[in-house]
């Protein structure tokens, strides 16, 4: 069902007003508040290198940060799990159906 893009103007669009409303509220809040002067990153240190150090909990960066080694590991595992899940979901199920014919213990599925 590939069709060329066209402007969708059904009744469905009306609900989008909610998103616009949310934007209005957020903007109103943000623009009426003040945060003071930004601290920025003074000095000539390398921000990228500092990020690299922070990720492995090394205390060598030019700018302050927290250690992220544990988060790094957790995210690594999460990505791995997501990959497995994606593969599992993507598998076609009829392979099992073929296998089920010959096995008694799977007959009750």
């Amino acid at each position: 069902m590939t069709t060329r893009p066209r402007l969708n103007t059904g009744r469905q669009q009306v609900i989008g007003i909610l998103a616009i409303g949310l934007f209005a509220v957020l903007s109103a809040v943000f623009l009426t508040s003040s945060f003071g002067e930004a601290a920025g990153f003074p000095g000539g240190g390398s921000i990228t290198a500092a990020i690299g150090y922070a990720m492995f909990d090394l205390d060598a960066g030019a700018f302050p940060s927290e250690g992220f080694l544990v988060s790094f590991m957790v995210i690594a595992v999460a990505l791995d799990a997501a990959l497995d899940v994606a593969v599992m979901l993507g598998q076609r199920e009829d392979e099992e159906g073929v296998a089920a014919d010959g096995r008694g213990e799977r007959g009750d599925r």
């Binding site: 609900i15 909610l18 998103a19 949310l22 509220v25 957020l26 109103a28 809040v29 009426t32 508040s33």
Partner: protein, 697 residues
């Protein structure tokens, strides 16, 4: 305690021994010779020995009280619930009676149950053991709550034993009837127990070393009221009633349990049906345990009842009426055990009459003698029933006199005692009951004379049905093949009969009041025994109480004096008993007696149907309670209670039906709702927190 208690430290064993036999018979009975009978015989024999030791100890020293276990109590609790043992003159006497009868019944059961090859014997002996244990524990209870517990256990065991032959149709329903009728009375008893605890803060009967007991507190409250002083602090009355009225209510509630257990009118209907149980059980129930429990309770807390003249009058009247009422029904019965059943009801009526009429000693005396002669009669009937191969119809018997002489003479001894013929035991005790009621009636409480009159008329019927039973069973010619050639009975039947036969004849010796009045050297053992009980628990104290609070005083027939009244009373009751017996002799003598019940006409039907007592109670239970009251309650329940619940659930059901349409299953809708909620929340918080730069603030 142990050093001071001496032999008393073994007192708990009196009840524990039969309980152990219950456990043994239940767990190992089927592997034992005689299926556990010997365990029961040994246990009850041990109880009997210990009870006799206790009597000796109480006689030589003084009464004893010990506390075994406190199961509710402490700082924050206003009262203590305990198990304890009270061994005074009354309870030790009763212990001896109960353990004697239980022992003999166990021996007799060897002949009645084992020799007949009944199945289920371990169960039988287990239940018998538990029954005996409960009754013994009930007797030595030191407080009314403990008494109530064992009172209930006694009821449970009698239910089990009456329904022993549960495969037949009759016994289970008889067992249920006994259980339900007595339970009906016990509801009142339970409320009464709670009331006594709420009122006095203690349920103790009293005794040595007991600081507070409810009869004494009640007495103090009554005296304080009489003197116009403030009530003792420990006593609280309810519903704004005066102590007298409130104590009366409590007494009546407890009396409900007594009347249920002791089969007093109108709760007597269970007892004749209870004959469905094995005959030794009937003997145990009617002579010493179940039925005796009720009147024993009255005697136990007599210090409380003695304060309340109204209750004494009620007890006397219920007793007198029951004595007469049951005696008339016994006149027409055909089964030997039925006659005995009605005589039991009647005799317990006498005991109640004695207690209510101010004759504490007389009531206990009759309880004692009745226990022996009624156990004897039931065991004798059991012997006859063995001989007749479990045919109980007296019209099928006859002529058994020559074929089973031991049974005959023992039975005759019991019958003479029951009829109240001098010098058998029943004469002395029944006479004293009637005498006490008469003199108190003459001495200022004329209402008792009505109860006395019923009692004296009942004596006539007692004599009549007793000798009708004896003549039909043992005299004349055999009226069936079974009676022609009865099965012989063995030593284990004859020995208990012989022992009880002797006892029934001579046990009256313990209180020969008329003889004592003439020859002072002949002592009144029981009278002295009960009058030397512990403080506030002895007969002398009770006499003072009845005199002070109930206004009982001994009067005399005008012109005869005290001694003359005594002999006049004895003479009248003896003459009436002889007249009744003579009428029976006249009607049923000879080789082939005829049935005379036809002459009663319409009365016969009424008597055969026991005055339609069962019918009206069934009507009360079924038509009135189940039909009208329960029907109304059901309509209320269906309409209002259920209706309310149903309407509430209907509302949530309908609202849920509409509300669930929100759940469309379309992701976009959920997202939209979440967004809407977020916007609303943000706006709300923003306005409240002033996020909009003071625009709305």
């Amino acid at each position: 305690m142990a050093a001071e208690g001496g032999i008393f430290t073994f007192a708990p064993a009196i009840a524990v021994l039969p309980f152990v036999s219950f456990l043994i018979a239940l767990s190992a009975g089927r592997y034992m010779p005689k299926k556990g009978a010997f365990a029961g015989i040994a246990a009850t024999g041990g109880s009997l020995l210990l009870s006799l030791l206790m009597v000796a100890q109480v006689a030589s020293g003084h009464a004893h009280h010990m506390e075994l276990y406190t199961w509710v109590g402490g700082e924050g609790v206003p009262f203590e619930l305990t198990f304890g043992i009270l061994l005074d003159q009354l309870s030790t006497l009763m212990l001896v009676i109960v353990s004697t009868i239980a022992f003999l019944v166990h021996v007799f059961s060897l002949g009645y149950m084992n020799d007949e090859g009944e199945p289920g014997l371990p169960r039988y002996y287990a239940e018998l053991g538990l029954f005996t244990a409960s009754m013994l524990a009930f007797v030595f209870s030191d407080n009314i709550l403990m008494a109530f517990m064992f009172f209930e256990l006694v009821g449970l065991c009698s239910y089990l034993l009456i329904g022993f032959w549960f495969r037949r149709s009759g016994p289970p329903s008889a067992a249920k009837k006994a259980f339900l009728v007595t339970r009906f009375g016990d509801y009142f008893f339970l409320i009464g127990v709670v009331g006594i605890f709420a009122t006095f803060g203690t349920g103790m009967f009293g005794g040595p070393g007991v600081e507070e007991s409810f009869p004494v507190l009640a007495e103090e409250a009554m005296s304080a009221m009489a003197a116009g002083e403030a009530m003792p602090e420990a006593v609280t009355t309810f519903f704004g009633l005066s102590p007298g009225a409130w104590f009366g209510v409590l007494g009546l509630l407890v009396l409900g349990g007594v009347m249920g257990k002791s089969a007093q009118f109108p709760f007597h209907t269970w007892l004749p049906d209870a004959m469905e149980g094995p005959t030794p059980v009937s003997a145990l129930i009617h002579a010493a345990t179940m039925v005796a429990a009720g009147v024993y309770l009255v005697a136990r807390m007599y210090g409380f009842y003695a304060l309340l003249p109204t209750l004494l009058a009620i007890i006397a009247f219920v007793g007198g009426f029951t004595a007469l009422f049951a005696a008339t029904m016994g006149v027409v019965k055909d089964e030997i055990k039925q006659v005995l059943a009605y005589s039991t009801i009647s005799q317990y009526g006498y005991i109640m009459l004695g207690l209510g009429g101010g004759g504490y000693v007389a009531g206990v005396f009759h309880l004692t003698t009745h226990a022996f002669f009624k156990a004897l009669l039931f065991l004798g009937a059991g012997s006859v029933i063995i001989a007749m191969h479990h045919n109980e119809d007296m019209w099928e018997m006859g002529g058994l006199k020559d074929r089973m002489p031991v049974t005959y003479y023992a039975f005759l001894s019991g019958s003479l005692a029951l009829a109240g013929i001098v010098p058998f035991s029943g004469f002395w005790s029944k006479d004293e009951v009637l005498y006490e009621t008469l003199v108190h009636g003459l001495g200022g409480s004329p209402i008792l004379l009505g109860a006395y009159l019923m009692g004296i008329v009942a004596v006539f019927f007692t004599g009549f049905y007793t000798f009708r039973m004896v003549l039909l069973t043992f005299h004349g010619d055999p009226r069936s093949d079974l009676a022609e050639d009865p099965e012989p009975v063995r030593w284990n039947v004859k020995i208990p009969l012989a022992i009880l036969g002797t006892l029934a004849a001579v046990v009256g010796v313990i209180n020969l009041v008329p003889v004592h009045a003439v020859v002072g050297a002949v002592p009144e053992f029981l009278h002295d025994w009960l009058f030397h009980g512990p403080e506030t628990l002895n007969g002398a104290h009770y006499e003072e109480l009845t005199e002070q609070f109930a206004g009982y005083s001994a009067g005399a027939i005008p012109g005869l004096g005290g001694l003359g009244t005594l002999f006049a009373s004895a003479g009248v009751s003896l003459a009436v008993a002889l007249a009744g017996s003579a009428l029976a002799l006249g009607l049923y003598r000879g080789p082939d007696p005829a049935e005379h019940t036809e002459k009663l006409g319409a009365l016969k039907t009424v008597l055969y149907n026991n005055y339609y007592q069962d019918e009206y109670q069934v009507w009360l239970a079924q038509d009135l309670t189940e039909g009208t009251v329960a029907g109304t309650a059901k309509r209320f329940d269906d309409g209002v209670v259920d209706g309310l619940v149903n309407r509430v659930s209907d509302v949530s059901l309908v609202s849920g039906y509409f509300l669930r349409r929100v759940q469309t299953g379309i992701v976009s809708n959920y997202a939209a709702l979440i967004t809407l909620g977020l916007v609303v929340l943000l706006v709300a918080f923003g306005i409240m927190g002033g996020w909009f730069g003071g625009v709305f603030a």
